[in-house]
Amino acid sequence: MLILQSIILGIPQGALYGLMAFGISLIFRTVGVMNFSHGNAGMFSAFIALTVFLLTQNLLLAILCAVIFGILLGFLIEKFLMRPVKHLSHGGMLIITLGILMILEGLAQIIWGVNPFSFNELVSGPPLMFTLGEDGLLILPLNDLLITVISLGITILLAVFLKVTKVGIAIRARSQDEVGSKVVGINTNMIDGLVWGIGISLSALVGVLIAPKTTVTPTMMMNMQLYGFTAGVLGGFTSLYGSILGGIILGILEKIVGIYISPDYQLTIILLIIILMLAFKPSGLFAKKFEGRV
């Protein structure tokens, strides 16, 4: 019973991890950069949403603004920070994303301070309840259900976009061969900017969806980013759909650890999984071979 409840509570959480991982993987696969500022970019967008909401009291508008801001931020990061070092060194790109991480945190502290703000859920209302057998009662909060639907919906939408649209195919082409994509006439800089934009807007979305639970603070997405990495590692960064699956597995696992061991060790155990996974099966749970992109 308990385990079923963990799964039910784990899935919405995991869907968000998956969305996080999806963005990170998309950027990594296409541009070759592991974005360590991913979480904080989402955090900053959540603050934008918060501000818009405080001004307009319109939650949908707030979320929309956050997502648009995420796209813009992604474009800017690509254009001004990543492009100059694109072909130089991985170390350099890594350190730049760490720098962005720090800057966004600092900026958020200046603008909004360090005190947490609460943020509204998408829907409020009594949770769905199911009775099972004698005294089994499963609880599914309405908001969680909506989060799951949105996450999966967005994922499917993106998957379709990448699969059938011309630009989507171009993104995949760019991720496989930069020279090849240039010579067929793909504007690779534009594609890279777009990918950064999409990736970060996903983090923005995760930021506003998780905000009711974490509250809005400059460090709200720190753990989310780690979970995103973990989900990515589980799913294998080279497979986009693996990311979502990895996220959901992780979400369930997390709840199980929390219930059966202790919430205190939740993060530690999850993080050990990352390390072991990376060490012994860096290609992820689902991929057949490791492409070893550094």
Partner: protein, 230 residues
Amino acid sequence: MLRVENLSVNYGHVKAVKEISFEIKSGEIVSILGANGAGKTSALFGVSAVVKSKGKVFYKDKDISGFTTYQRVEKGIILCPENRRVFSGLSVEENLKMGSYLRGNYQKNIETAYRMFPILKERKKQAAGSLSGGEQQMLAVARALMSDPELLMLDEPSLGLAPVIVDQIFKALVELKRSGMSILLVEQNALKSLKISDRAYILETGRIVHSDDAKTLLNDEKVKKSYLGI
């Protein structure tokens, strides 16, 4: 059609191409020959702006030196790069679709492509990475043709292909020329490419050391011995 003046390509401190000038007239096939590492690929990369270069490039008497790769593609300058560079995770069909990303009528051209390389039609749903080397080369050539090139540049298109297929490709090139396309060809097989070329440039350590009509070059003993290995 295309005029290149003092083109230089550097990789850090390696000077791959040193101030070369050459031109391709409308409807010509021009070859660039040279040993390994002479800078042929780099020169083509320079012309299509895949790498940064110095010097001027004129296309139909318009200075396009500042153009990016895709802007040059838009104008009809298409490179079929060395080592195929197909998108291995995309299907054959998707690869061809990308060929007409900016130019060319996909529906019309794909028919032509499949007619030219029937094997590609058989494999159209298959990932390009699972094709054999030769098939991938065919795909690369077909992909380049998808965009209706005005000036087609091919970098070693016959690499790894069986002689029959090579003949087929060369025959196709002659036909494309007849239909009005200008072609810049880089080939290891110098003899074969000279035979279909109008003119040729010989590149040595980044410099053009010789240029002439293909026929003259074919009959020049010294050139034959030192550059063509015949």
